[in-house]
Symmetry: C2
Subunit: 231 residues, 2 copies
């Protein structure tokens, strides 16, 4: 044989793969999934359109991997925030506010990942992404129920509803348009987190306290260098 992949090449290939995925993420962050088209993404990554197909079998696969990536980062952030909390209720509050802060800070990307119409079928990866995050929320609600902080309930449905409330209120088409203002953003995050906690049965007064405590670290964790979502 007169050709073998050397380390250098392997690294370059990996870098290029990253570059393409990154280009896709950037495009999605700026213009939503509609902006994730092969030719523009290839241009952003400094490769030709055909090259994309040496790394991803189809556009569908590219976007699916993008969705999985972003979800994975998101899940990590949620877990870290919740695990750092002192008790089950705080953990739930931390998880909820983390999601709220993240999606509201990267609305275009979140909208693209979650619900924006795409011309290729990405329902499977969206489903997996949602399932994973819903499962995390469910487990946090379960823990709070076991601790006697919340009434017994269908926690799976509750987790799904909580996610729906967060998404619709913060990144959906009816979301407030003035969320670029830092104060407004925090208010919206607090309001919606409060709604979510009350929905699962946290008493109003207690929920307010939990939210206030959870919002600060969630916001602080975000602007650190590269944000988790837009990395």
């Amino acid at each position: 044989m007169v050709y073998r992949r050397t380390h250098q090449v392997v690294r370059r290939l990996a870098a290029r793969r990253h570059a393409i995925l990154n280009a896709a993420r950037d495009a999605a962050s700026e213009g939503g999934m509609a902006a994730v088209q092969i030719a523009p993404v290839a241009a952003r990554a400094n490769v030709a359109a055909g090259t994309v197909y040496r790394y991803f079998p189809s556009k569908s696969d590219l976007i699916s991997e993008l969705i999985a990536d972003v979800s994975h980062d998101e899940l990590t952030a949620i877990r870290r925030a919740a695990d750092a909390a002192p008790g089950p209720s705080s953990a739930l509050a931390a998880a909820v506010t983390t999601i709220a802060v993240h999606v509201v800070s990267h609305r275009k990307l979140a909208w693209g990942i979650l619900a924006e119409p795409v011309d290729v079928d990405v329902s499977q990866s969206r489903l997996a992404s949602r399932r994973a995050i819903a499962a995390e929320i469910k487990s946090r609600i379960d823990a709070a129920v076991r601790a006697g902080h919340l009434p017994a309930q269908d926690t799976e449905l509750a987790a799904t509803a909580v996610l729906g409330a967060l998404h619709e209120a913060l990144v959906g088409p009816l979301a407030p348009s003035d969320l670029d203002d830092r104060g407004k953003l925090r208010d919206a995050v607090q309001t919606v987190s409060l709604l979510a906690l009350r929905a699962v049965g946290v008493m109003d007064a207690r929920a307010r306290g939990l939210v206030v405590q959870a919002v600060l670290p969630a916001q602080a964790a975000l602007p650190a260098k590269t944000s988790v979502l837009a990395g």
Copy 2:
């Protein structure tokens, strides 16, 4: 002039318009918005593809009108249910359960109206549809707040979040799959309605009572002849 539209013709034209819209609604009910394609819809309505374009400038307009129609029917049903309730809290509960029962009873159509990817741009009519229903919910929450039954809050955001919770939990991709069972359906509707009411600040015990009272009439109103959504 040697030609004027006679009554008969006017009626036939109107009937045809209805037939096309109805065909679109049927198609959406069966196969979601993906099934709303010009040729199949035309076939369903017993006209040629080209004829559709004498009634609707574009597919986008056809679907937009379909969305507006369905939303209008939905809004009417919500108002009727809420207005029949004895007080502001009951009215809110009635509105919420009405939405829940409707979307869960016509999931494919609801999904198509709300969020399913479509190849043409229907974001404006979807936005209008959502806005109208959110406004109705908001006004019911406002009334309950004024009556002192709920804590003061950002009712616009609350209404949006409530809708998001209902939709995601009942028609989204994570919605339970066993909702064809009548009992399961009722349980899901109750559970999610309860979550929605607690979210806006109704106490758990009271919310349970309101939901139970509201679910029965909402369910009863539905199967009457032609359902409001699929009619």
